[in-house]
Symmetry: C2
Subunit: 412 residues, 2 copies
């Protein structure tokens, strides 16, 4: 992509009405735009990040047998009355006049839908997921992309004949989540965390990523790295993972949640199956969520430095930021165009700063702000070579294109 | 995908509250589920169809320089007041208490957003698009997937310095639309149609696909195949394409719309640019829409036969429906499993009817209803070969797997 043609531009100053670091950097970089509190447009650069995150999540969901579908945002009031949440759920956007809610979550849709296809034990287990919008009437939406009123969520729902099967699948999802966060570059910062349960489970489990921007506090076990959410720390003095008692408190963001719903939603919708003996039994459910904007915001919070965003390779919108300087010199311009073409032909996603009017200083500052993993420079000084530099700070070196390509491809 | 593990099942009878053929077939086939009038869940089979449609549209939008982004569904009231449409647009879902609308279209978001990045003539032209939800308070939502209250739309918006540039881009979009409908298998049935314009253009252009289920009437020119929408036929007696006067009336569905907005939305948002002489000029806009569920429903209407759905190869959720019969015989079961594996290894999307309990009649009826382009049969009678049959009726023949693969891959 030629930067001169990119829809967005970088902004010199951070928006005043935006208190959070992640949204400030993402807005300044032209990744997102704030339409209203808690509601952000994802601009072409930001949308590429989201698509990368989405692809990793989708692969891991498919790998554990999840079948992707799409559940609507508009839900009939009757479904929410069935569970009692039409009146009780404070974040529910209600269009009372139309008897419609805009879904903050989809149990009220998926449970009655599953009932249409599950009759016998032979129909179980099942797992379906979607990557779709959620709408939540959040009173405080001041953490940028970490807490939105509208956001894209991956929500997986599983259906089981008995607790053993639910438990086994729950562990598979946990494994998938660990792979997702590792692939996104957050493996080291993310802790499997015990949290408060609901009416049907003593505890739920969260994946919490340590960052100063986090709204939660977790207590990380020095022995095994698991954590306990502050909300239940009083009742859990010993680490349930390893029995350890040495904890460190840290601010963290809940980037994922896995939850045994058991019969909480099967009961109101009478979601049952007939077992091998012909007896009617309730279907047991699990639900598993990941908020995508939150993940994007968390990655920004965790890796950003004083100059701007630092993307992990797996989610960067472009792997390479190719910067052309002295482009009024025809030979430099030809050399930059040649490198751009060669990189693209090698299958790399490249952002090419071809802007004729921008100064070198402006281009470097933009590259620091935008945060692509690799920076390549072509200028009057680089001759037939390119200057190669990592966003994380590795010293610049002069390489020929083939050597640069090899170095880029070697980045995991 | 093994059919025994598929989330959905086929239904024997059509739902009584669903008058339209497309929704009846899609519901019976387990492609979609009706959550409420005009609101459908897309089940795993249906979601695969949507993803295929989406991929074709995305490729053609990228090919004309469209940059993909994501604009929120929730819009601030002030944006809609700016254009006067908060009060005037009857299909707008308003959450008055929150000063929020749920977007039926996105001009009120994209115009002020473009204003942040467009200052000079050097920033133009620009084209951005999204494939995102729309919400419309339709009073009549009785045409199944042809008219929804919630649906996914591809909306492209373009921004230009002058009319010549808008006109040229408009023709590029027209070309892209023709390629999209041709790739979807609807080329022959779809007509470029003159329709009523708005306050800023005399005419707009629609792409209308002929089918008895259509809510519109078009008059197709015998000379050049262009059409005129009934709504302006009185004022247009001669074909603007070729001057012909011989027309045939037909019911049709509007599958796409291209529209020169000119300054209709630039004006209220003061979206301007500075030209080469330093003078402030209004930006000219175009908008171009395709509704995805409508396209899916139209494809069903156009190609379905008495037995069920007939998918064009490009959009079919699976290219091959592999049917195993006599699977209680271990050698047949092994042969079916082998063919399934070989097809998948060849990169084909295969639905494998491995259900042990279903009768041959039930499997054939389901295959007719589901509508995959190619049906392969493995049974006690086929030996080491497979029976190969096209959904469109080509007589069955016995082939070895390699020959079947070659035949499948030869289908465009």
């Amino acid at each position: 992509m030629k930067q001169s043609q990119l829809f967005s531009k970088t902004l010199k100053v951070a928006p005043k009405d935006e208190p959070s670091q992640n949204a400030q950097l993402l807005i300044r970089g032209g990744y997102v735009d704030k339409l209203m509190a808690g509601v952000y447009s994802l601009l072409p650069l930001g949308w590429r990040v989201m698509k990368n995150i989405e692809a990793i999540i989708r692969e891991e969901m498919n790998a554990i047998g999840g079948q992707e579908l799409y559940l609507p945002s508009m839900h009939p009031k009757v479904n929410w009355q069935q569970t009692g949440r039409w009146d009780s759920l404070d974040v529910l956007y209600r269009l009372a006049e139309d008897d419609v809610a805009f879904g903050p979550t989809h149990e009220e849709v998926i449970a009655p839908l599953a009932k249409k296809f599950v009759q016998s034990y032979r129909d179980l287990p099942l797992a379906v997921y979607q990557i779709q919008n959620k709408f939540r009437r959040e009173r405080r939406a001041k953490s940028g992309l970490l807490r939105g009123r509208e956001f894209i969520m991956k929500d997986l729902y599983s259906f089981h004949a008995d607790e053993a099967d639910l438990d086994a699948y729950y562990e598979r999802v946990r494994g998938a989540y660990e792979r997702i966060f590792a692939r996104l570059g957050l493996g080291r910062q993310t802790h499997y965390t015990y949290a408060a349960g609901g009416s049907f489970s003593k505890y739920s489990h969260e994946f919490q990523t340590v960052t100063a921007a986090g709204e939660d506090t977790i207590h990380i076990c020095a022995g095994c790295g698991r954590a306990i959410n502050e909300e239940i720390k009083a009742e859990m003095a010993v680490c349930p993972g390893c029995g350890g008692t040495d904890f460190t408190a840290a601010a963290a963001v809940e980037v994922g949640n896995i939850f045994k719903l058991k019969t909480k939603y099967s009961d109101p919708f009478k979601l049952t199956y007939t077992d091998a003996t012909g007896t009617e039994q309730p279907v047991l459910m699990g639900c598993y969520g990941i908020g995508l904007q939150r993940l994007m915001g968390t990655i920004v919070e965790v890796f950003a430095d004083d100059q701007g965003i630092v993307w992990p390779v797996a989610v960067a919108p472009y792997r390479v930021h190719l910067i052309g300087l002295n482009l009024d010199d025809p030979s430099v311009r030809a050399q930059a165009a040649k490198v751009y073409q060669e990189l693209q032909q090698a299958g790399l996603a490249v952002l090419f700063d071809d802007r004729p009017e921008a100064t070198a200083g402006a281009k470097f500052a933009d590259a620091d702000l935008l945060g692509m993993p690799v920076r390549l420079l072509v200028s009057a000084k680089t001759g037939g070579k390119v200057e190669y530099k990592l966003r994380t700070g590795t010293t610049a070196e002069l390489l020929d294109t083939a050597a640069a390509l090899a170095a880029i491809k070697a980045l995991s």
